[in-house]
């Protein structure tokens, strides 16, 4: 059953009406469309343009039915023409006859089907959609077996590339307008539109050739990216999935497979913290495509293009199939599992135990599953005897740590997607909805106009603008100060019903940010949603893969919680030291005060070059990785682990919702928890978590003790503005959704849809940088980034924005600083 267009939310308030469809009485909430009401009695009316998430178009005319309504005297009056059941609401006393009981309706549907097919090519045998095609299926069920059309079919040059990722075969298109309505109504990126008219009607980009325009360029919010290049959408791939024919195909999947040769496995997307439901279609142990699965509570019908297209990274040539160990000559050589585990166990034992041992740091990375995060935490505490474990691989702060352990860990499901949609006001801090939120952006956009949205940021990003957000200007790093002095109207809005404050991962670089946000919850009643970027961060917080916090959220300083957990784990006690975070661990490693590192899925691209130096300096490094990387090249032992498609696990999404998934297929690759369990055995400890069920059973038994929770942070935001010398600017930066991330490797078609990297400054700042329109940004290290400069209206002066990790602009590695730091800016002549 699908949701009704008219009945939103509080179903109790919508009156129920009763009518008759095909002689069967049906009661539905008022406002229910006939086509949905018919589904409830098991009558499926054929349809093409209809989509439950889009507004009715009544364009394809396939769903015609006969309708009669009672007049004011109660006498039944038949409507003279058949009606489209996708656009007409069922009303009390209405009598509907579908194709099941009405010859008129059946004849009308057959007529429309015949007309739809006259210009549709008979290329089903080579069409990607063949076998899962609504047109094919419904032509079989509601059409005539033979065509009477003997004339010339419409043809077009094929295919038309709408983006590098999406190809359009116009002759297959039945002009249902689902794709154009999606792009306009859902993400608000009108990158395609109907062109020409009549039989020549076609979907296309604004194409001067098709439209016969000359010297005319498109303008508008979503038609260009920062560089002036046409920007399509981060959500364009959804149009392929909702296309009822094979007109829209993806460059990656086109002509690769037949749907009936694929095995479909439900899963959860690994690219962001939303935990979107996806379907993995695979064949002979290789993923060939991914689709959205409708999940009304989370991603509804949609996923990001990254979730849809970025999966090739899991099966590239640099996949690690077997362990590696460093030989005497210093080269990494392939090794057997027993040999590698033995080497790793010996090296870690040496660093962890004994009088001169300097200890081991464990850095699992932010993409771990809940089960893996738990295993890293347990491995650190039970085997290595340390609380030095931190899944955050990014800028962090003590304040953030206090916030996470006091206000996130063990709190269960808090603000949900549905709450975002219903909130009267949303304040976003250190969070870019489109780039860092994925489907969060779509949920917020659903409420545009009905919701006050504010963005604490140096400028209004295109994504925030599409939400109709109001900018609360803030210099990066000073978001805490901005929260402390919010305009009165923003504070008043936050007192509205269900108001939400969204904190992104970048608040970690804003002193006082969390403390001020927590204060606001007390003064306004708004609730906080912490929406990190990476899929594993919330799970890591819950599973104790953070220093100083035990699984379930208790502080490691709490003796009772420690002993309860130790009892469960069959140990006498657990380490009581507070534990170090990622910054401290790396600093210790860099200064030669760390004996060994256990690294999970971490990339050198995400950290300043000092991280690489620290890893190099560490005497013994064990890396658990999927693919060869800069980190594995530095490791002494490399243990291969499975990518998400090949393992079972759970992502805890930002809501706190458990998103369990099973392995789509088995390649023999094992998940991190299994490797850590084997490694522990090699070190003489039985972790007791060799299977995903064993981990889940332990997780379920973790005691939650709210009393043992750490206290909330209370750090004052700085009031004085830091002095800035001439030629300096404060660095602003975030990851674009499609960028140079390693999880997007191997998918050039997706890469082609990325926004082009530019540097943004305010018009006033731009004026000080010369007229060449190119700016060079230099940071703490020797490197610099040179990019085209875009003057951005309304941007805070003295700030320069760069994409964090787009091709050629790696801020962490090339500048060695985090957002909020002072950088040197220089306009250069072209």
């Amino acid at each position: 059953m699908t949701t009704t267009a008219g009945a939103k939310g509080d179903a109790g308030l919508v009156p129920t009406i009763t009518a008759t469809i095909d002689g069967v009485e049906v009661s539905v909430p008022a406002g229910t469309l006939i086509i949905r009401a018919a589904e409830q009695i098991g009558v499926e009316i054929p349809r093409f343009c209809d989509h439950p998430a889009l507004e009715p178009a009544a364009a394809c005319r396939q769903c015609l039915v006969e309708v009669a309504t009672p007049d004011s005297e109660g006498e039944l009056r038949a409507m003279p023409k058949p009606q489209t059941s996708c656009s007409l609401e069922l009303t009390a006393g209405m009598v509907v006859k579908t194709h099941e009981t009405s010859e008129v309706a059946q004849r009308a549907q057959e007529g429309v089907m015949e007309l739809l097919l006259i210009n549709h090519p008979l290329d089903c045998p080579v069409c990607d959609k063949g076998g899962e095609c609504p047109l094919q299926n419904q032509a079989m069920s509601h059409g005539n077996a033979e065509s009477r059309f003997v004339d010339v079919k419409r043809t077009y040059e094929k295919p038309l590339a709408l983006t590098t990722e999406i190809l359009l075969d116009r002759e297959r298109c039945i002009l249902c307008q689902r794709c154009t309505r999606f792009s306009e109504q859902i993400p608000g990126d009108p990158f395609i539109e109907l062109q020409e008219r009549g039989p020549q009607s076609q979907i296309g980009l604004l194409d001067v050739d098709v439209l016969n325009f000359e010297g005319f360029a498109p303008t508008g919010l979503a038609t260009e990216d920062e560089s002036g290049r046409p920007f399509s959408s981060y959500f364009a791939g959804n149009t392929i999935q909702i296309c009822p024919v094979g007109a829209l195909t993806s460059a990656a999947y086109r002509f690769r497979s037949r749907p009936f040769d694929l095995v479909s496995s439900p899963s959860i997307a690994e690219h962001d913290s939303s935990g979107s439901a996806i379907r993995i279609d695979h064949r002979r142990g290789e993923v060939v495509r991914r689709l959205a699965i409708r999940d009304p509570a989370v991603n509804e019908d949609w996923i990001t293009d990254k979730d849809r297209f970025a999966f090739a990274w899991q099966s590239l040539d640099d996949r690690l199939a077997r362990p590696f160990v460093r030989d005497e000559a210093g080269a990494l050589v392939e090794a057997s599992w027993p040999e590698a585990l033995e080497r790793a166990a010996a090296g870690l034992a040496k660093a962890a135990d004994g009088k001169r041992a300097k200890g081991v740091g464990v850095l699992p990375g932010g993409r771990v599953t809940l089960e893996d995060a738990y295993a890293y935490g347990k491995f650190a505490r039970a085997v290595l005897g340390t609380n030095d474990v931190d899944a955050r691989w990014r800028a962090t702060s003590d304040e953030e740590h206090s916030f996470l352990v006091s206000s996130v860990a063990g709190t269960g499901i808090g603000v949900r997607f549905a709450d975002l949609e219903r909130a009267s006001a949303v304040l976003m801090v250190g969070f870019e909805p489109e780039d860092e939120g994925g489907v969060v952006f779509l949920r917020l956009r659903k409420s545009r106009g009905a919701q006050a949205v504010f963005s604490v940021a140096p400028f209004l990003s295109p994504g925030a603008a599409k939400l109709g957000a109001t900018l609360v200007p803030a210099v990066p790093g000073a978001e805490g100060s901005a929260l402390a002095s919010l305009p009165q109207d923003v504070v008043a809005a936050l007192k509205g019903s269900g108001a939400v404050i969204i904190l992104g991962e970048r608040v970690a670089s804003a002193r006082g940010g969390y403390s001020e946000a927590l204060k606001l919850t007390e003064t306004t009643g708004a609730r906080i949603a912490w929406i990190p970027r990476r899929a594993g961060e919330r799970g890591a917080v819950e599973a104790g893969a953070l220093p100083g916090v035990l699984p379930g959220g208790a502080s490691s300083g709490s003796a009772s919680s420690r002993s309860a957990l130790a009892r469960m784990w069959g140990l006498e006690d657990l380490p009581s030291a507070r534990g170090r975070g990622v910054a401290d661990i790396l600093e210790a490693a860099g200064s030669g005060h760390l004996g060994a590192l256990v690294l999970g899925g971490v990339s050198l691209d995400d950290m300043p070059a000092s991280a690489e130096a620290a890893i190099k300096k560490t005497p013994f490094v064990v890396s658990l990785e999927v693919r060869r990387s800069g980190v594995t090249d530095l490791a002494d032992v490399v243990l291969p682990v499975a990518p998400p498609s090949e393992k079972a696990g759970t992502f805890v999404n930002w809501e706190g919702r458990l998103r369990e998934f099973e392995a789509a297929f088995d390649t023999g690759a094992v998940s991190d928890y299994r490797v850590l369990d084997m490694l522990a055995r090699a070190m003489g400890v039985d972790l007791g978590i060799p299977t995903v069920d064993a981990v889940r059973a332990e997780l379920a038994a973790i005691p939650i003790d709210d009393a043992a929770r750490a206290s909330r942070p209370s750090i004052a935001a700085p009031t004085a503005k830091p002095h800035r010398a001439a030629g300096e600017a404060v660095l602003a930066s975030w990851h674009l959704l499609v960028d140079g991330g390693v999880l997007q490797d191997g998918e050039p078609h997706l890469a082609g849809t990325a926004r082009v990297p530019v540097a943004r400054v305010s018009p006033a700042t731009a004026a000080t940088l010369g007229s060449a329109g190119i700016v060079r940004v230099s940071g703490a290290v020797r490197g610099s980034i040179t990019l085209p400069m875009v003057a951005t209206e309304g941007m805070v002066d003295g700030v320069v924005w760069l994409p964090t990790n787009s091709p050629g602009t790696n801020v962490a590695r090339m500048l060695g600083v985090w957002p909020g730091a002072s950088v040197t800016v220089k306009g250069i002549d072209a």
Binding site: P56, A57, A58, A59, C60, R61, Q62, L64, P80, K81, P82, S87, R107, A108, G111, V112, E114, L115, L116, I118, N119, R148, F149, D151, V152, R154, I174, L175, Q177, E193, L194, E196, R197, G198, P199, Q200, S201
Partner: protein, 439 residues
């Protein structure tokens, strides 16, 4: 015997008929001066009492349409004049606006005053640049004379009229597609409800009327509803323009009461082309089923024409004599509907595509008897199934011409092509009794 009643057309022959001076000299803007002294409700009642019905084809009672507007809520309300006259054969609004633009302007001001709109739009067929200039000039003149702009005639009422030139699409004559086009979107019909009276232009209450409808309003106000209602038949009141074209001696606009017959009009216009006889005619343009000489005495009002099996439409009386191949004529109209289909809905978009290919084959001699059935069956798949009335319109002459002239269709099949001489239909090809001239 009915008489012609030049009312809308009464100035057309005067010098500078389009100027304000000429218009005012003959009592122009008297209706407006009278209107602003009465209340909007009185004006709406007068139009209701007059029995004026929409002249754009559908014949919906105008006063009732105005009455559908919700009560003012302080927001914008609009009047939109549909001047996108594009149907083959229909040629009444363009001459009216060309010769007497002030009559439309005056009607628009009275209507806007009655519905409390402070902005009115005239959506004009863009190709008629001449008319566009005349309308722009008339708006300027009216503004200077104080009939438009702020504080009109000292009433405190403000109105601005915007003349908008469309880009040449038949669909934009459909009122909701016109609104989309006027808003700057692709012209495609909108889903109804909401109806324009509730959510029209920019989602605000909007009245949309045809040019001739609005131009009839000043007369109703100045001469009175009873004067107007005295003309015409029982349920089809008032004066209208009859547009005679085709094989008629004196084609043009003939203004008279509703309910005249084609026989009367042919008498006034010199009859069918000399030496020829009537074969078929359209009562209301290319979107209405064909009539033959059997319907010469059908009163041309909404009810009688419908009872006779067609529609009054825009009273575009296209006369075809016996030299005309009906297959050829309908094929041209079908081409038109194919070209002008907006492409939104399947039946109209694909159906006209198919139909025009069948006609092509019939004309070139490749048609079969099954094709004639296919024309009828495809027409049935369009009629009543399309999104808007334009799809229905495309089928009207097809099904009626096959019903009336099936033998002629069959002759195209059996004779492998058109049996008639296409040149004989042209005026210039009429033999001037000279030897050797081709018939």
């Amino acid at each position: 015997m009915s008489k012609l009643t030049p009312i809308l057309s009464r100035h057309w022959a005067e010098p500078n008929s389009w100027s304000l001076t000429t218009y005012e000299a003959d009592g122009g803007y008297a209706g407006l001066k009278k209107a602003v002294k009465s209340t909007p409700a009185d004006i709406i009642q007068a139009v209701r009492d007059s029995g004026l019905r929409g002249r754009g084809g559908a014949g919906f009672p105008t006063g009732m349409k105005w009455g559908f507007l919700p009560a003012p809520d302080g927001g914008h309300r609009y009047l939109v004049v549909n001047a996108d006259e594009s149907e083959p054969g229909t040629c009444k609004d363009i001459p009216l606006m060309m010769a007497s633009p002030h009559m439309l302007i005056e009607g628009a001001i009275i209507t806007a005053y009655a519905i409390d709109a402070e902005r009115a739009f005239i959506y004009l067929r863009g190709e008629t640049v001449h008319v566009y200039r005349r309308l722009l000039g008339a708006v300027e003149e009216a503004k200077k004379a104080g009939y438009l702009g702020t504080n009109i005639l000292g009433t405190g009422y403000d109105l601005e009229i915007i003349v908008h030139a469309g880009a040449g699409a038949y669909i934009c004559g459909e009122e909701s597609a016109l609104l989309d086009s006027l808003e700057g979107r692709r012209g495609q019909p909108r889903l109804k409800p909401p109806y324009p009276a509730v959510e029209g232009l920019y989602s605000r209450p909007t009245v949309i009327n045809n040019v001739e409808t609005i131009a009839s309003v000043p007369g109703i106000i100045s001469e009175g509803a009873a004067w107007f209602a005295a003309m015409g038949t029982e349920r089809s009141k008032g004066h209208v323009l009859y547009s005679l074209s085709g094989h008629v001696e004196r084609p043009g606009q003939y203004e008279g009461p509703l309910g005249m017959t084609l026989r009367e009009l042919l008498d006034m216009s010199g009859g069918v082309r000399k030496g020829h006889t009537l074969k078929f005619w359209t009562p209301g343009g290319s979107s209405t089923p064909l009539f033959t000489e059997k319907q010469l005495d059908v009163p041309l009002d909404y009810e009688a024409v419908e009872a006779a099996g067609s529609m009054l439409g825009t009273r575009a009386l296209q006369i075809f004599d016996e030299t005309t191949c009906v297959v050829r004529a309908v094929a041209r109209w079908t081409e038109f509907y194919k070209h002008e289909s907006c492409g939104k809905c399947t039946p109209c978009r694909e159906g006209t595509f198919w139909l025009s290919q069948i006609y092509e084959r019939l004309e070139s001699g490749e048609g079969t008897e099954a094709d004639i059935e296919q024309l009828l069956d495809t027409s049935r798949s369009i009629l009543g199934r399309s999104f808007c009335a334009l799809g229905d319109a495309a089928t009207m002459t097809i099904s009626s011409s096959i019903a009336l002239f099936r033998d002629e269709y069959m002759a195209h099949v059996t004779g492998h092509g058109c049996p008639m001489n296409p040149r004989a239909t042209a005026l210039f090809a009429v033999p001037a009794k000279k030897k050797g001239a081709r018939a």
